[in-house]
Structure formats: structure tokens, C-alpha cells
């Protein structure tokens, strides 16, 4: 093979031809006006929205979704590896019409078994939490790369430009927040907007209301806004509208002088959108519009399930309002020393997850909303004291809705649950499949940066076509 020819071929690929952003003149025009405008997909999309719930800390697959009779049989035996086999402490049962094996840790979710697509052959490269979480979000544990959510909005734009395209709720990621949810080299508009539910600061209705929040108070108790700077501390909407009218007239005058100036136009539009977001964001965040039964279904009446339940309910509201990608991060799944704590973690998410799937379904949103239950890796079948060790060679995630088969199990680990052996799905394959469901060819979604075209999947990734409905 002539190496120079090969090298030249690669250069041609690098010139950015694959990028969606160059799909057509019409798209370019639309992008110039609004870079977040919806964009055509490479092929028909199965899912239009994503809700990813990320269980940070690596839940044990052999105690939850990966049934291993051999592990139960070999409980206590020395399997030739470091440590004694540890049988799951919870019973597994077949669920739904499909008969998927799921343990008693998820009694509510089990009722939605026929919607679930279990991915039991997951594996990854990174054995440590922070790097593995980064890899699960960005495709690499090593470098700073854009998050899955950022890539999705970059590729697809968003349907409701009154709202951000990529929203994050829930836990922080131990020091990797800006990486796991970040835009890296993509423009800043693709980064996640972090929303803290339930702490919306009320707009002053008049009167001398000094602001209760603020960074300068010297720490301590602070009321955080649901979105940074979403409300104004000293003006009511009417006063602010007068201010924005002035701003608009000034900007229009600048535009008149400059004639053609996309940056000035961009600024002009951004204030109007920001002004609308002040109303639309709090409206999306306002759960008063939800019925009592709905709230109960999500577990909002129980302190154990209320935090995650609120996030799930808000995620549904956001998707309904056109948000492209919602990520809920849920921490504390690191059961290295005590596997029994798994019960508490599962208890906090089980009912809300089941409610989310049921609710999306009853609103006919599940068919084009992809729900993903993700994590960074799994746990060893043998014990480490009362817990389980890290296992990046085999673990389980699942998807529901959004064009995947329901009541379906894809891939498997070996008899004990150590390594993925069949239907293997590397983190890169997982990303490729998610993008595929969104109508995006992961090999063509590129961004030219620092001299080359970057992809979420780097040079890897295979779409798991078997799971497509």
C-alpha cells in the first residue's frame, strides 16, 4: 500500500466535508440566523429527545439487571481471581411479557420491563470513576472533549429556542463537572445549562425587596437560582421591558449604521431570547401545574424519592417544551465496601424511573424520547469485604423508548459476570448507537478544531443495529 496515498486520503477526510453544519446552503443560512435552529438529520431520526439518567459511582450489574445463576451457585467459592464469589443479595425474577430477568431492587421499574432494552454487554477502558465517567460522557478519559449532550445539540439544534438545548440537573461530578457536561472546543452555546430544581427565587412584586441571594454574602446559606442570572433582583418585568426597549432601539441603531453585522444581530436576538427565558424557564420549572396523582406517581410525596422524582418530572416537562437533551446525574452509587447500600440508591430512583417511562408513554412522548440509564462501569462478581470491586470489562446499562426494542436484552457477560463476551458494546459503540437513534451518523458528526476533525467516537464505534425497533 502506498502510504502517501493513504495519507492524502486522510487529508481529504479532514477538510470538514462530513460536518452537518455544511449540509446545505439553506442550513447555513438558518444557522447564521440562529445557530441552534433545528437541522436536518443524516437519516430519519427515531428519537428526537434524550433523557439520560446517569448513575454516578457504578451500580453493580450482577445485583440488578444481569442475572447470573452460576454466581449464585458458586457463592463463597474462590473463583481463581482475587476474592470469593458473592451471590447477589436480592432475588431475580422474570418480568413482564418479555420475561426479562430483573432483581427485586427495582420493583416499580420491573413493571415497565417490556419497555426496557437491557444492554448487558457493556464494557469500557477506564477502571477509575472520574476517567470512566469522562469516557462515558465524552468518549475519552484522557482529553477534554465535548459531552454527548453538547454533540447532540451541535448536530441537531433545538426545537424551542426559548429554552437551552442541553440541560443538566442533579449531582455534580466530583471535579469533572465542566468536562462531563461541557462543550470543550465546541462553541459555548452547546454546553449544558445547569438547573437546580426547587429553589427558584421569586421575582419581587414591587416594594423594597432587597435581594436574598448573592455571591458576596460570604458563603453560608445561599439560595441558588435555577438558571444563572435568570431573574432580576431590582426590576419588575414592566420596568425591565422599558429597559429592553431602550436596549433594542440602541442595538437597532447600531445595526442601521453597520448595515450588515451578524454579531450585532446576534446580540439583539440574544436579549429578546433571554428576556423570554426569564418567563419560559421558571414556567417549565413550575410543578404547580402538575396534578396530585402525577406527583405521587413520581414519588414527590416521599422524601426518599422526591429529589430524583422532581428531576424526572422536570425532565419530562422540558422534553415536552422542546429541550433536546436532558441529563440527570445521580451520585452515590459507589458500593465498594458495602453492597447493601445499593438498596437505598435503587429505592430513590426506582419509582421515579418507572413513572417517567409510564408518563412519557401515556403522553405519547416515549416513541420519540430516548431514555437512557447510564453509568461508568459495573462491579466484580467477587466481593471486596462486603462490597464489590470496580469492573469496567462487563456491565449493564439500559435504554427505553426512542426507537429501541422494548422487553429486549442485548449482549451478555460470561457466566459469572466478569467480562462482556457477546453483543459487546464499548462506550464508543454506546455513543454511536445513541447518535444513530437521533438520526446522526457518528462518523459524519465532526467538528474541525486544532487542525483536525473531531468526533465523539474518535475513530471507533459500531451501531448496535440489533436493538433498533
Amino acid at each position: 500500500m502506498n502510504t502517501l496515498t493513504r495519507r492524502q486520503a486522510l487529508q481529504t477526510v479532514s477538510s470538514g466535508l462530513g460536518s452537518l453544519a455544511f449540509a446545505s446552503m439553506a442550513t447555513q443560512q438558518a444557522l447564521a440566523e440562529n445557530p441552534l435552529a433545528p437541522q436536518p438529520t443524516h437519516f430519519p431520526a427515531r428519537a428526537k429527545h434524550v433523557i439520560m439518567v446517569f448513575m454516578s459511582g457504578a451500580p453493580s450489574h450482577v445485583d440488578t439487571f444481569d442475572y447470573k445463576p452460576a454466581l449464585i451457585k458458586n457463592d463463597g467459592s474462590n473463583g481463581g481471581r482475587a476474592g470469593k464469589m458473592m451471590a447477589p443479595k436480592w432475588e431475580f425474577r422474570q418480568r413482564g411479557e418479555s420475561g426479562l430477568w430483573i432483581s427485586d431492587l427495582f420493583p416499580h421499574l420491573s413493571k415497565q420491563a417490556d419497555e426496557l432494552c437491557l444492554l448487558r454487554g457493556m464494557h469500557g477502558d477506564q477502571p477509575n470513576h472520574p476517567t470512566a465517567e469522562r469516557a462515558a460522557h465524552t468518549g475519552t478519559g484522557q482529553f477534554i472533549r465535548p459531552s454527548l449532550g453538547a454533540w447532540s445539540v451541535y448536530g441537531l439544534g433545538t426545537e424551542n429556542t426559548d429554552l437551552p438545548g442541553f440541560v443538566h440537573m442533579g449531582n455534580q461530578f466530583r471535579g469533572s463537572e465542566s468536562i462531563n457536561l461541557g462543550n470543550a472546543f465546541l462553541p459555548a452555546r452547546y454546553q449544558a445549562t445547569t438547573v437546580n430544581p426547587g429553589t427558584e427565587a421569586p421575582r419581587p412584586t414591587g416594594g423594597n425587596s432587597s435581594r436574598s441571594k448573592g455571591k458576596g454574602k460570604g458563603g453560608g446559606e445561599e439560595t441558588k437560582e435555577s438558571v444563572p442570572n435568570i431573574s432580576n433582583s431590582h426590576l419588575d418585568l414592566r420596568a425591565q421591558r422599558t429597559q429592553l426597549d431602550l436596549l433594542k432601539r440602541l442595538n437597532e441603531e447600531t445595526l442601521r449604521q453597520e448595515k450588515h453585522q451578524p454579531q450585532v444581530e446576534g446580540i439583539l436576538q440574544s436579549y429578546e431570547l433571554a428576556y423570554r427565558m426569564q418567563s419560559s424557564m421558571p414556567q417549565v420549572m413550575n410543578l404547580a401545574q402538575e396534578s396530585g396523582p402525577t406527583k405521587t406517581m413520581y414519588g414527590l410525596d416521599d422524601p426518599a424519592t422526591a429529589p430524583f422524582g422532581t428531576q424526572c418530572l422536570l425532565a419530562r416537562r422540558m422534553v415536552e417544551s422542546g429541550v433536546r437533551f436532558v441529563e440527570i446525574a445521580n451520585g452515590g452509587w459507589d458500593h465498594h465496601t458495602d453492597i447493601t447500600r445499593l438498596e437505598g440508591n435503587c429505592g430513590a430512583v426506582d419509582k421515579p424511573l418507572a413513572a417517567l417511562i409510564a408518563d412519557l408513554k401515556q403522553r405519547d412522548l416515549l416513541k420519540d424520547t430516548l431514555v437512557i440509564w447510564g453509568t461508568e462501569f459495573g462491579r466484580t462478581p467477587h466481593g471486596t469485604g462486603n462490597g464489590r470491586g470496580h469492573n469496567n470489562k462487563g456491565f449493564t446499562t439500559w435504554m427505553a423508548g426512542g426507537g429501541v426494542k422494548g422487553g429486549f436484552s442485548y449482549g451478555s457477560t460470561d457466566d459469572l459476570g466478569y467480562e462482556a463476551v457477546d453483543g459487546k458494546m464499548h462506550t464508543h459503540d454506546w455513543h454511536a448507537t445513541i447518535l444513530h437513534l437521533l438520526g446522526i451518523d457518528h462518523e459524519q458528526l465532526t467538528y474541525h478544531y486544532a487542525g483536525r476533525d473531531f468526533r465523539l467516537t474518535d475513530v471507533y464505534g459500531n451501531v448496535a443495529k440489533d436493538i433498533l425497533a
Binding site: T3, A82, P164, Q263
Partner: protein, 842 residues
């Protein structure tokens, strides 16, 4: 780590067995002992985590060759041949002194006894490491061919063609007529921001305008020269370089502070202000420690300059020291080859460069230079921080932001605490035997505490005054050549390559023969010579980009084959040639560009020109740009009269010392220039990040220029901007008596020009229509901000300045304003700051 590498590039890697080193002579009997008793035990108990076969080297340790055991891992050599008691391996198999191996259950007694015999024998071991042979796919012929790429050839001098003559030729050819010179107001604002990152003041606007009436050319030239000489010049232009240098004050990853990083920041600012020749600037950053220094002051400066190599992202929680070093060196190579040479040499770590004629050998030739260099970055060895180093003690004690109030008492107190902790630890070593995990935990706790105390003592002189330290590099103790690592993986070493540079640079390439030096000085000189076809062009392109809003090579840190071709190579080459002609003076080059017609054009739209050249590649008009994050913040502080143009001593992280960074947003409310705000990796300052401050985890060639609603919300609703509006209103009320005067001067301050009629009409309409929220006649006292930083003597919060004689009562009150946030004039001022004319520089 790349996966399935060999699958991707089939047939590229030929693996053959080789030897890393010759084996020692042992008797057949001794070898039999090893084969019968030791090898099976190592395979059974240790290989899973410590062998090349399993591609696992936990704690940096391999046990699959004698050499590897002698080299050891995280804790140093694993075995001292002949001496079990001093061997970590012996401790480990006995579950002693914090090492417990294998981790679940100790080996049987008789096996442990065999290990003792083996070590006493002197470690007989016939095993050799399989060394792969790396064959590059890039041949000598490919490299020769590669030299034809434009950027690998020296620029051609075009006698004395000026910038304008080169650009005019392009415009004429395309039949474009360039825009006229911008008006004096626009031009002054542009010159001010471009050179200083600050808007002109009212008096500067008036003075410039009257000079312009007499002689526009002279007015411009004088203004450029005046501003080039101001200390604020280095603060603006130094920041451009700090983007490239991925400057930050914490490690990123498992984030720890780098409390001495600010010295490098100040060095860069000073270098621009002194107009340090760029070739010298490069040499100091790459090898300042090796340059002759006639005075201590020069030596000091040179040492601080090498901080460039030390301030990058690092994984201090990495347990494997070799992995840590490998990643650190990769980060260094990536930064300096992109930054200075415009080459992505880092791509050749795992495989031959896919586009450029840079084989993997070249990467490891450079890596050898850095392996023979000690990178000194500090940090204390505390919980989860495994990789630490000393720092460079500076020859001259400079001003440090740490209080020395405690004096000798602090030193004595620390010493006695250390002695106490050491005694406790020693006592602990005697009690608590094998299997006592609690004792191990206590020991770790004590050791953590001890290391923390030692860290505190290390930064103090005997009299309690703080020592001056810098991050940087020194020559290593041992000069080594690097092994090529297949796929960049430590566990897959291939042959060694001599220390050297890049073959494609022809006679600038070199091989280090000496065992006395690393070759780093040679490397710096090969980079800084005018015969290097990249260095001058890369910097000329960066300077052009910052002034013209558009680089000539659109990939400023990649001049390789995958980078973009220059839009006007003649222009780039001429700039590079003149740059060198003027002794690499950055100020000269900046001056020359700013005095060109091309720079001084206005940004007026022309339908005819736009139809032909919409991207303005031919520079028929000026390119408007949004103010950078620092410019925006500084400009609002200038408008409000609150800016403090003094240099901030160190930074918030410099003051807080060792430890973990908290949010970088904490010092937002001080009034120093933004270049002095703390920069912590992964903890970005909210305002800076919102306005596209780059991620300092990697080198940055150019900033994003996004315009997003989050920025709009920031301008409309943030505490910081609201306050600047209040302060500006306060200043206007103090300085001008009528509303008309206040409004007129507000426009002049914010836009650098008088308001247009339409703008005044809109303003009058606003004042007529605006109604503050009802029942809010009392000014809102928003005393929530402007905290002074500790140790600043109250300098941090300058909110009390210019408050009509009203003294700020205390630091915590320093941010209160006499004008309420909802005061019409305050809202008006905030609106001006938010408007496009203010945020976009045209």
C-alpha cells in the same frame, strides 16, 4: 488509551523479540531455585496486577523482570538485592509497613521464606522483557517529500514590500475598493482596546480628537507609541500568550493549587512590556535555567520563565510514576510544539503522525530530552496526591502574598509539631502488627498530617518570612534516551531512540550525544533560530490575528499538512521576515500593522465587496469583534470609575497556598484588571467562562466568539453588571450637573463617541417611560459584594472610591452604592454596557 490499535493500522507494526538489557550471571542452581519456587509464586500471586503480560503495572510496578523489580514503582526500588529487610517487596509479602501483598490473603509461610532466600541470593532471575521493534511507516523519502510543504520552507523576502502594497494588490485584482479610514472616535477606541484591552477615558477622547484635527497621521502614530509604552499593554498582550501557554493556577484533574504559578503570569506580562525579543522569550521559557545569566535578577527571570513547561494539567493522583511522567511530557510536547512551532507533534505519541512527516521516533527523541529534565511543580504529598516534586527556590526573595506575622514562632511551632508527628509515627511502626488494618489507617492519617506540616514549613525561612519559589524545570540527574512506546502505552516498550528534534526540519534536527546535558538548550536554539521556518511565521500570524480579527493561517497552532494554507502567504512571509529584521520585536510588528491603512479602515458594509468577498479575506474593511471576557469586565470597571490599574500581588490562589482550588469566581468583585483574576482549572470564573474565556486544560490558539442568551442574562441580571451600572451612575451624578450632560457623557464613555440623534431620542424615551418598581423610593443597599481579599489591606474592594467623600465603613460595606440599582440612571448605564455598540468593537 487507544483501543484496538493494531486493528486500525494493520501491518504497520512488526513485533520482534529483543532484550532491554543483558542479564547478570547466576549459577544454574540459583536459576533452578527461581524457576521452582519464585516464578510460580510471582505468576500466581503478582502477575495479574504487575506484569506486561496482563498489561498492568499497579503502582508503577512490574515484577516480570529483574530489571523491573530493581527499578520498582511508586515507592522506589522493589528489591535491594541481598538485603530483604530493606526491600519493599519483602515488606509487602509480609504485610508490613503499609504494604500488603497479595491484597486479600498473605502467601503461605514457606513461599514467603523462599522470597527471603531469593533476595539474599541477589535476585537470580533469567527473565527478559520482550521488546517490540517499532518500524515507522514514514520513510526518509516521505520526509524529504514532506519538506516541500510550504511551512517547512523558509519565507521569501520581497525586498521592502509594505503591508498595504501587498494587500492592495489583492484588492485590485479582485476589483474591490477598500473602505475608508475609520473616524477618529472609532479608531481611538479600536487602538485602545487592541493595545491595552481598555476603553479610552473622556479626556483621552477629547485630546485625541483635537490632535486629529491638526494631523490625523501624527495623532495615530503618537497614540500608538504612547499606548505601547504603557504597562497595561503587557497585561493585554501577555494574556494572549497566556492562552497559548494554557496558564492556570491549579493542576486540573484531581485539582490541587499551584500557588506559585502567578510568577510566570507576571513574567509574561513584563516580557511584553519590556519588548523582550521573541526568540529570547522562547529560549527563556524552554531553557531559561540553562541560559547564561550575568546577574541574579536575570537568573531569577530565566528560572521563572521555565514555568511555561511546569504549569500544565497534571494528574497528581496517578499512582504510577512513569505513567505520570509520560502524560506530563506529552502535555509539554503538545503545548510547546503547537505554541511555538505550529505543529501537532503530540499526535505522534501513539503512532506516526497521520498527516505530517513526523514519525513516532521524532516524538520520543523529544520525549527523551524531557525525560532528562526535571519538571518542578511542587504540591504536598497528602491524601490521594501521589505525585509531588520540589519547587525552584529563587535567588532573590520577591514580594509574596503570604503573611509573615507569626515570625520565628510559627517556624518553631511547626517544627515541634513535625517532631511530635514523627515520634508518633515511629512509635506506630513498632506497635500494630501484621493484619492490623486500623493501624495502617492511623499511620496513613499521621503521614498525611506530617506531610502537610512539612509542606507548611518548607515555604518559610528560619525567621518565619516566606520563601520565594517558582515552578519550572532543571536538568535531570540522569540523561536518558526514551523508549518508543507502542500505542503510547508504557506496557509496550519498543527500542530506544536518541534524544533529538524533528527530521523534517533538516539541518535544524540534531541528536544529543552528550551524557552531560539533556539537549533542551539545543532544542530551544533550534526552535528560536531565524532558520527555523515555523517559529517567526507562527508568532507573526498570531499578532496579525489579534489586530486584524482574522489570522492569515486559519489554524494558528497548526501549520502542518492538516492545517489551513495561508490566505496570503506573501503577506505572512513578509511579516515574518520583518519580525526577524527588527530583532524579533513584538512591539515593532504590532506598530507596523497598526499604522497600516488596512488596520485603520472602518468596518462599513459594502454590497459590492460583500458579494465578491463575504468573509473579508482580502481585508477590504475592518473586522468587528466582541470584546473578550477580560476587556468586557475591565471596561465596565473603567466606566464605573472603579478600576484599579495597579498590579495585583499574586492572586487568590497565590494567597491561599497549597490545597484545592475553590471556585475561581471568588475574586470577581475585586477591582484589579481581569488578567489578575485567579485561573483554576475546571473551576472557571462564571463571568469569564460565560464570555468565552478558554479552557486552560489545553493550549489555545484562538478564542470562541460566541453570542448566547446566557451572556444576555449576565448583562441584564447579574450582580456584577448591576453594580457597575450603579457605580457609573454615581460617578456621572457627581461629575455632571444636568441629566443631559450625564447622558451625553455616558455615551461618550461607553461608545467612545458622541451619541447619535436616534440614540438620544431612545434615551429620552426611556427616561420618560421608565418606572421603577412601585414603593421603592429608598435606595436598595446591596452591600453583598466587593469583598476585599485577605491580606490586601482593604485594597480589594475599591467600591468606596469616589463616593463623594463618604468613607467606606468597612470592607464588607465597600460595595454599597449611593445610587439604587433601580435608579433610572443606573439602569440606563447598565443598558449602555449591555448594548451591542459597547460589546462589539468595530
Amino acid at each position: 488509551m487507544p483501543r484496538n490499535h493494531s486493528l486500525l493500522f494493520p501491518g504497520l507494526l512488526a513485533l520482534t523479540a529483543g532484550h532491554l538489557s543483558a542479564q547478570e550471571n547466576f549459577s544454574t542452581e540459583q536459576i533452578h531455585f527461581f524457576e521452582n519456587h519464585i516464578r510460580p509464586a510471582l505468576v500466581k500471586y503478582c502477575y495479574e496486577c504487575h506484569s506486561q503480560e496482563e498489561r498492568s503495572s499497579r503502582g508503577g510496578l512490574f515484577v516480570d523482570t529483574r530489571e523491573a523489580l530493581l527499578q520498582g514503582g511508586d515507592g522506589g526500588p522493589a528489591v535491594v538485592p541481598g538485603n530483604p529487610v530493606d526491600s519493599l517487596l519483602w515488606d509487602a509479602v509480609n504485610w508490613q509497613h503499609g504494604y500488603e501483598m497479595p491484597p486479600d490473603d498473605p502467601m503461605p509461610e514457606e513461599v514467603i521464606a523462599h522470597f527471603k532466600t531469593w533476595i539474599e541470593m541477589g535476585l537470580p532471575d533469567p527473565r527478559v522483557r520482550e521488546v517490540a521493534d517499532f518500524n515507522s511507516t514514514i520513510t526518509a523519502k516521505d520526509i524529504e517529500k514532506g519538506k516541500e510543504h510550504w511551512a517547512f520552507q523558509l519565507p521569501v523576502r520581497q525586498s521592502d514590500a509594505s503591508i498595504d502594497s501587498i494587500i492592495s494588490a489583492g484588492l485590485q485584482e479582485a476589483e474591490l475598493s477598500p473602505a475608508p479610514r475609520a473616524d477618529p472616535f472609532t479608531l481611538l477606541r479600536r487602538i485602545n482596546f487592541d493595545l491595552l484591552g481598555l476603553p479610552p477615558t473622556l479626556s483621552e477622547i477629547r485630546a485625541f480628537h483635537s490632535n486629529w484635527q491638526r494631523n490625523p497621521d501624527k495623532a495615530i502614530e503618537e497614540k500608538v507609541d504612547e499606548l505601547l509604552a504603557r504597562p497595561q499593554f503587557g497585561e493585554r498582550w501577555g494574556r494572549h500568550w497566556l492562552d497559548v501557554a494554557r496558564y492556570a493556577e491549579s493542576s486540573g484533574s484531581r485539582n490541587v493549587n499551584y500557588p506559585n504559578a502567578w510568577r510566570y503570569r507576571d513574567y509574561v506580562i513584563d516580557a511584553f512590556n519590556k519588548d523582550k525579543p521573541y526568540d529570547r522569550f522562547l529560549e527563556e521559557q524552554m531553557a531559561g535555567d540553562l541560559l547564561p545569566a550575568p546577574t541574579d535578577a536575570e537568573w531569577q527571570e530565566n528560572l521563572i520563565a521555565t514555568g511555561f513547561l511546569a504549569i500544565g494539567l497534571k494528574h497528581h493522583d496517578q499512582k504510577n510514576p512513569r505513567q505520570f511522567q509520560s502524560d506530563m511530557i506529552d502535555e509539554q510536547i503538545d503545548t510547546f510544539t503547537q505554541g511555538f512551532l505550529g505543529l501537532t507533534v503530540g499526535c505522534a505519541r501513539c503512532h506516526d503522525h497521520k498527516y505530517d512527516p513526523i514519525p513516532t521516533q521524532d516524538y520520543y527523541g523529544i520525549a527523551g530530552i524531557l525525560q532528562s529534565t526535571r519538571t518542578l511543580f511542587g504540591t504536598n504529598r497528602v491524601a490521594q496526591i501521589h505525585r509531588t516534586s520540589p519547587l525552584i527556590a529563587l535567588p532573590i526573595a520577591d514580594k509574596v502574598p503570604v503573611s509573615s506575622e507569626g515570625g520565628t514562632r510559627t517556624v518553631e511551632h511547626l517544627k515541634s509539631s513535625i517532631a511530635k508527628a514523627e515520634a508518633e509515627l515511629a512509635a506506630m511502626g513498632r506497635v500494630g502488627g501484621m493484619n492490623d488494618r486500623d493501624a495502617g489507617k492511623d499511620r496513613r492519617h499521621l503521614r498525611n498530617n506530617l506531610n502537610r506540616l512539612k509542606g507548611q514549613l518548607n515555604v518559610l525561612n528560619e525567621d518565619g518570612t516566606p520563601k520565594s519559589y517558582a515552578m519550572g524545570v532543571q536538568e535531570g540527574t540522569e540523561m536518558v534516551n526514551a523508549n518508543i512506546l507502542l500505542g503510547g502505552e508504557l506496557e509496550r516498550p519498543a527500542q530506544q531512540v536518541p534524544r533529538g528534534f524533528l527530521q523534517v526540519l533538516g539541518d535544524l534536527n540534531f541528536q544529543v550525544e552528550s551524557e552531560k546535558n539533556s539537549g533542551r538548550l539545543q532544542l530551544a536554539r533550534a526552535m528560536s533560530t531565524p532558520r527555523n521556518p515555523l517559529t517567526h511565521r507562527v508568532m507573526a500570524n498570531r499578532i496579525w490575528m489579534h489586530l486584524m480579527g482574522r489570522p492569515i493561517v486559519a489554524t494558528p497552532s497548526n501549520f502542518g499538512l492538516s492545517g489551513m494554507k495561508p490566505e496570503n502567504q506573501q503577506l505572512l512571509d513578509q511579516l515574518a521576515v520583518r519580525f526577524v529584521d527588527h530583532n524579533w520585536s513584538m512591539k515593532q510588528l504590532i506598530r507596523e500593522i497598526m499604522l497600516s491603512n488596512a488596520y485603520q479602515r472602518d468596518s462599513t458594509y459594502s454590497e459590492h465587496n460583500y458579494g465578491i468577498d463575504p468573509d473579508n479575506k482580502l481585508l477590504w474593511r475592518a473586522n468587528p469583534r466582541p470584546l473578550a471576557a477580560e476587556e468586557l469586565r475591565d471596561a465596565t470597571l473603567v466606566l464605573s470609575g472603579e478600576i484599579d490599574l495597579e498590579r495585583s500581588l499574586a492572586s487568590a490562589i497565590g494567597e491561599s497556598g497549597a490545597g484545592r482550588p475553590r471556585s475561581s469566581s471568588e475574586d470577581l468583585y475585586n477591582t484589579y484588571r481581569s488578567v489578575y483574576l485567579t485561573v483554576a482549572r475546571d473551576e472557571p470564573n462564571e463571568m469569564m467562562k460565560t464570555f468565552d474565556f478558554p479552557d486552560p486544560n489545553v493550549t489555545n490558539a484562538s478564542r470562541a466568539q460566541s453570542i448566547v442568551p446566557m451572556q444576555a442574562l449576565y448583562m441584564m441580571n447579574s450582580e456584577f453588571i448591576t453594580q457597575r451600572g450603579q457605580a457609573m451612575a454615581e460617578l456621572l451624578k457627581k461629575n455632571f450637573r444636568t441629566d443631559n450632560d450625564r447622558v451625553a457623557n455616558a455615551f461618550l464613555l461607553a461608545y467612545g463617541r458622541p451619541a447619535t440623534d436616534k440614540e438620544l431620542q431612545a434615551s429620552h424615551a426611556f427616561f420618560r417611560e421608565f418606572e421603577p418598581p412601585s414603593r421603592s423610593s429608598e435606595p436598595v443597599s446591596n452591600d453583598r459584594t466587593a469583598q476585599g481579599r485577605g491580606g490586601k489591606g482593604g485594597k480589594g474592594g475599591k467600591g468606596g472610591k469616589g463616593k463623594g467623600g463618604r468613607e467606606a465603613q468597612s470592607d464588607s460595606r465597600a460595595g454599597s452604592y449611593a445610587v439604587a440599582a433601580h435608579d433610572p440612571l443606573a439602569v440606563f448605564c447598565q443598558t449602555l454596557m449591555s448594548s451591542a455598540r459597547f460589546r462589539i468593537l468595530n
